[in-house]
C-alpha cells in the first residue's frame, strides 16, 4: 500500500522536528468565559455581521453572513450573549470587525444544526459553504471555491496533505490517529461528488504509524462495502517544506504548478487531512466549523499537547486552560516555527486556520544579529522554488524593482528555508516580502501610467490635466 515517491523537489531544509506532542491524545478545552470572532477568517472579503449586542447565540448560530463570493459564513463557537460588535486589530495587523460573545457555560447547540441532505453536486457545494469550511492547513482558502472548479478544469487526482512538515505541529497527526474513519469518509465524499477517480495521501516518513492507520482503515472499507476505493498512501521524504502545495503535487504526481497558477491548473486538488475530516464529520453531525484542533508547544509551557478549542477563544485563555506557563514567555508564535506570526499581544481570538500556538521561553528565543552576506549560496541550495534569495535581498535593499522582477521575486512561497539556512542570519524572507510589496506598487504605477497615456491619446494627444 505504501510506496515511496519517485520525484523530489530541489532544495528544502531539515529543521529539528520537535514533534514533542505526537503521542499525546487531544484534549477538549471548555469553559472559556468569552470568545472573539473575527468577521474575516478566510482569504476573501469579510462577512457581514448579523448579530447585535444582547442577542443570544448557540453553538453553530451564524454570526457572520457570507454575502460576497469567496466568502464563507462564521458561526458562534459557544452559547451565550453577544456583548459587543467592534473593530479589532487582527494578528497580522489589519483592522477587522469582531463579535465578542460572553459564554453562558451551557454549551447548547443551535437546534437548526442537523446532518445535511446532499443529493446533488450543487447541494454538496452549498453544504460545504454553509458549514463555514476553509482550508485548515493554514491558507484558509474557502473550500467551496476549491471544490467547485471551472468545468474545463476538473481534477483527476485528489491529494491529501498529511505531510505536516512544520516543526512542533502535530495537530494533523493526532487528527489522523484519532479520526481516520471521518477522514476516509471525507475523501470518499469529495471523490464521489467531484468524480475524482484517484486519491493519493502523502505522509512524511517520520510518521510510519499514519501509513498503517490509513491502510487499515481502507481495508475496513473494502470489507464493509466490497469495493476497493482507489486511495493510495505514499511516504514522502521528511524535508521542509514537503507539505507546501506545489512541492507536494510535484513529489506525488510529477506535475509542476506553473508560477501564478493553482493546483487545479494541473488537474489536481490538494486538501488537508483536517479539512477532509471536517467534511466527514459535518455530514454526520451537521455542526458548522466552530472548533479547532491545535498544538500548543514550547519550552515555556507546563503541559504541551494537542487541544481542541472553540474558534475565537483568546490565546491567553487557551494557554491558561492548557496548563499555563512555567516561565515568562519570551516569544509567542501563532502557527508553526517556520511560517508562523510572532505576536505582540495575546488577546487575539484564534481563527479557523490556526493550527498551533508556540510559547517559546528563553532557550528557544534567539534573534542573532545580521552580518554581511558571504554568498555561501546556502539560500540558493535550500530554495524549493529555485530562486536566488540573496540576490532578491540585495535588490530589495537597493529598491531595484527591475532587478527584483528579473529574480522572479513574486514566485517566492515565503517558506522561510533561506532564512533558516543563512549562516549570516539575514532576514531574507522578510526582505523578499518587502520586495514583493515594491514590485506590486511599481506594477500598479506602470499600469496607471499606461491607462493615463491611453486616455490622453484618446482625447487627441492632450495630456490629462
Amino acid at each position: 500500500m505504501s510506496l515511496r515517491s519517485l520525484h523530489a523537489f530541489a532544495g528544502g531544509v531539515h529543521p529539528l522536528g520537535n514533534k514533542n506532542t505526537d503521542v499525546l491524545p487531544s484534549i477538549h478545552l471548555h469553559g472559556f468565559p468569552e470568545v472573539e470572532l473575527l468577521m474575516q477568517q478566510h482569504i476573501g472579503p469579510p462577512c457581514t455581521c448579523v448579530v447585535r449586542p444582547g442577542d443570544h447565540v448557540d453553538v453553530g448560530t451564524m454570526v457572520g453572513r457570507a454575502d460576497k463570493p469567496m466568502s464563507v459564513p462564521i458561526h458562534s463557537s459557544i452559547s451565550g450573549t453577544v456583548k459587543e460588535v467592534h473593530y479589532v486589530v487582527s494578528a497580522n495587523g489589519t483592522p477587522v470587525e469582531a463579535v465578542r460573545i460572553e459564554s453562558d457555560f451551557k454549551h447548547s447547540i443551535n437546534p437548526f444544526c442537523r446532518p445535511p441532505k446532499v443529493e446533488s453536486f450543487e447541494d454538496f457545494i452549498q453544504m460545504i459553504r454553509d458549514s463555514g469550511l476553509v482550508g485548515l492547513g493554514g491558507a484558509a482558502f474557502p473550500t467551496y471555491i476549491k471544490l467547485n472548479p471551472p468545468k474545463n478544469k476538473m481534477p483527476d487526482t485528489l491529494i491529501v496533505n498529511a505531510a505536516e512538515c512544520e516543526p512542533y505541529i502535530t495537530a494533523d497527526y493526532r487528527q489522523i490517529c484519532e479520526h481516520p474513519d471521518d477522514i476516509i469518509d471525507g475523501i470518499l465524499e469529495v471523490m464521489k461528488w467531484l468524480e475524482i477517480p484517484k486519491t493519493i495521501i502523502g505522509v512524511e516518513d517520520n510518521k510510519p504509524l499514519v501509513t498503517r492507520i490509513f491502510s487499515h482503515e481502507i481495508k475496513k472499507r473494502v470489507y464493509k462495502t466490497g469495493k476497493h476505493p482507489d486511495i493510495e498512501v505514499r511516504t514522502l521524504k521528511t524535508i521542509y517544506p514537503q507539505g507546501a502545495e506545489k512541492m507536494l503535487i510535484y513529489t506525488l504526481t510529477g506535475r509542476k504548478v506553473p508560477p501564478g497558477k493553482l493546483p487545479i491548473d494541473v488537474h489536481t486538488l490538494v486538501m488537508n487531512v483536517s479539512t477532509l475530516r471536517f467534511i466527514g464529520l459535518y455530514l454526520k453531525e451537521g455542526i458548522p466549523l466552530t472548533r479547532k484542533r491545535m498544538t500548543l508547544d514550547g519550552s515555556a509551557l507546563n503541559t504541551p499537547g494537542n487541544f481542541i478549542v472553540p474558534i475565537g477563544a483568546r490565546i491567553q485563555d487557551i494557554i491558561e486552560a492548557a496548563g499555563g506557563t512555567r516561565e515568562e514567555p519570551k516569544k509567542i508564535i501563532m502557527g508553526g516555527a517556520m511560517m508562523g506570526v510572532a505576536l505582540d499581544r495575546i488577546d487575539h481570538g484564534i481563527i479557523k486556520a490556526n493550527n498551533a500556538i508556540l510559547v517559546f521561553g528563553s532557550e528557544e528565543t534567539t534573534l542573532p544579529p545580521e552580518s554581511p552576506c558571504i554568498r555561501c549560496a546556502r539560500c540558493v541550495a535550500s530554495c524549493p522554488m529555485d530562486l536566488i534569495p540573496c540576490g532578491i535581498d540585495k535588490a530589495t535593499r537597493l529598491r531595484d524593482t527591475e532587478m527584483l522582477e528579473k529574480y522572479h521575486v513574486m514566485d517566492c512561497i515565503e517558506c522561510g528555508c533561506c532564512t533558516y539556512a543563512c549562516p549570516s542570519k539575514r532576514f531574507l524572507t522578510q526582505s523578499i516580502k518587502n520586495g514583493k510589496v515594491m514590485v506590486r506598487a511599481e506594477r500598479a504605477r506602470i499600469k496607471k501610467e499606461q491607462e493615463l497615456l491611453a486616455a490622453s491619446e484618446q482625447k487627441g494627444g492632450n495630456a490629462p490635466s
Binding site: 531544509v13 506570526v341 510572532a342 495575546i346 549560496a377 529555485d386 549562516p423
Partner: protein, 336 residues
C-alpha cells in the same frame, strides 16, 4: 509581558559565518602543519606574521572607516592563513606584512569588507607580491639544515617541480604527493590538502563541483594537449608501465604547483565564486582552461592564481548567465 516580535522563520540553522570560517581553518591545519614540517621554523614564523598582520589590519581599517569590529568572524584569520600558504618560505618578513596589508585593506575593506570583495584577497595579495617582488616570490628553497634554523644559508635554492618536469631531476609522483618538493609553504603536501578538502566537503562547507571541474578540465587538457600527450604518445600500451607513462604527465601537472590548494581552498571561496551549481561548473572549467594555457603557453609557470582571479572577475557575469527559471516555469506550449 514583553514579547519578542520578529519575522518568520523562528528557528535557525546552527551554522554561522564564524563556524564556517572555523571549519575552513580546521581544514587548512593539516596542510599548514605539513608545510611547517617540510620548511622548518621560518615557515611557522611566516604563518604567524601573516595571520597576525591580517587580524591587525582588519581591526585598524575597520576602526578608521568607523565600521563595527569584525575580527570575530574569523575571515581575516582565513585570509592570513591562505596568504601564508601561498608564500615561499624564504620571503623577507616585511613582504609578508605588505601582502597582508594589500589583502585586507585594499582588496577586502576598501570594497566594503567581507562579502563585497570581488577577488579573493589572498590570491590578489599573492599576485601583488609576485609583481612587486618577482625575485623574492619565485626563489624556491628546500630545507637542508636543522628544522630550527632561521638562517637562509641552511636552505638550498631549488626549482619547483613545474619547471623541472622534462628534466632528469623531476621528482617522482609519490614525492609530489607527500610534499617532498620545492614550492609555497602550504601547497606542497597534497595528501594533507586532500584531507582538509574532504573535511570541508563532508561538513557541507564546500561543494565539490568547482574543484572537480577545475582539476578535471586541467587534467584532461594536459592529457590531450600536453608535451607528451595522447596523440604523440610513443610508448608501449601493452605493458602496465606504458599506461603509467601515458598518464604520467597529467598526474605530474595536477600534483605540482598550487593547483590542489587553489582548486579546493581558493577557487571555492564563497564571495568570489558563482552561486548556482551550473555556475560553479562553468567557473571550474574556466579556471582549468586558463591554468592550462598559462602553464603551457605563458612565461610564468604558476597559472593557478591568475586563472582564479580572472574567473573571480567573471563571477557576476556567470551568475547572470546561469540564473535558472523558478520551479514550475515552463515554455508556453509545453504539455503538463
Amino acid at each position: 509581558m514583553k514579547l519578542q516580535v520578529s519575522h518568520s522563520p523562528h528557528v535557525r540553522d546552527k551554522a554561522t559565518t564564524q563556524s564556517i570560517m572555523l571549519d575552513v581553518i580546521i581544514a587548512l591545519i593539516p596542510a599548514t602543519l605539513a608545510g611547517w614540517y617540510y620548511f622548518g621554523i621560518r615557515a611557522v614564523l611566516i604563518t604567524l606574521i601573516s595571520v597576525a598582520s591580517c587580524i591587525i589590519f582588519e581591526y585598524i581599517s575597520r576602526r578608521i572607516m568607523k565600521r563595527n569590529n569584525t575580527i570575530s568572524d574569523l575571515s581575516a584569520v582565513v585570509t592570513g592563513l591562505l596568504l601564508a600558504m601561498n608564500l615561499p618560505v624564504s620571503l623577507p618578513l616585511y613582504m609578508v606584512v605588505i601582502g597582508a596589508c594589500f589583502a585586507i585593506v585594499v582588496v577586502k575593506q576598501m570594497f566594503g569588507g567581507l562579502g563585497n570583495n570581488f577577488v579573493n584577497p589572498a590570491i590578489a595579495a599573492r599576485i601583488f607580491l609576485v609583481i612587486a617582488f618577482p625575485k623574492a616570490m619565485t626563489s624556491w628553497t628546500v630545507r637542508s639544515g636543522s628544522w630550527f634554523s632561521f638562517d637562509s644559508a641552511d636552505a638550498v635554492s631549488s626549482a619547483t617541480p613545474l619547471t623541472r618536469i622534462h628534466t632528469s631531476e623531476a621528482p617522482s609522483l609519490w614525492k609530489l604527493f607527500i610534499g617532498d618538493k620545492a614550492g609555497c609553504i602550504g601547497e606542497v603536501c597534497i595528501i594533507a590538502l586532500l584531507i582538509g578538502a574532504l573535511y570541508l566537503i563532508l561538513r557541507h562547507v564546500i561543494r565539490p563541483w568547482i574543484p572537480v571541474a577545475y582539476i578535471g578540465t586541467f587534467a584532461l587538457l594536459a592529457f590531450l594537449f600536453g608535451k607528451t600527450n595522447v596523440f604523440n604518445f610513443a610508448g608501449d600500451l601493452t605493458v602496465l608501465s606504458g599506461w603509467g607513462d601515458l598518464f604520467h604527465e597529467c598526474c605530474y601537472m595536477v600534483l605540482s604547483g598550487g593547483l590542489i590548494l587553489g582548486a579546493f581552498f581558493m577557487a571555492t571561496d564563497y564571495v568570489t565564486s558563482p552561486l548556482t551549481t551550473k555556475g560553479k561548473f562553468i567557473f571550474g572549467i574556466g579556471c582549468g582552461i586558463l591554468t592550462f594555457l598559462i602553464r603551457y603557453y605563458g612565461n610564468m609557470a604558476e597559472g593557478v592564481s591568475f586563472s582564479i582571479i580572472l574567473m573571480n572577475i567573471l563571477t557576476p557575469h556567470i551568475d547572470n548567465w546561469t540564473m535558472g527559471k523558478p520551479f514550475g516555469e515552463v515554455k508556453e506550449n509545453a504539455k503538463v
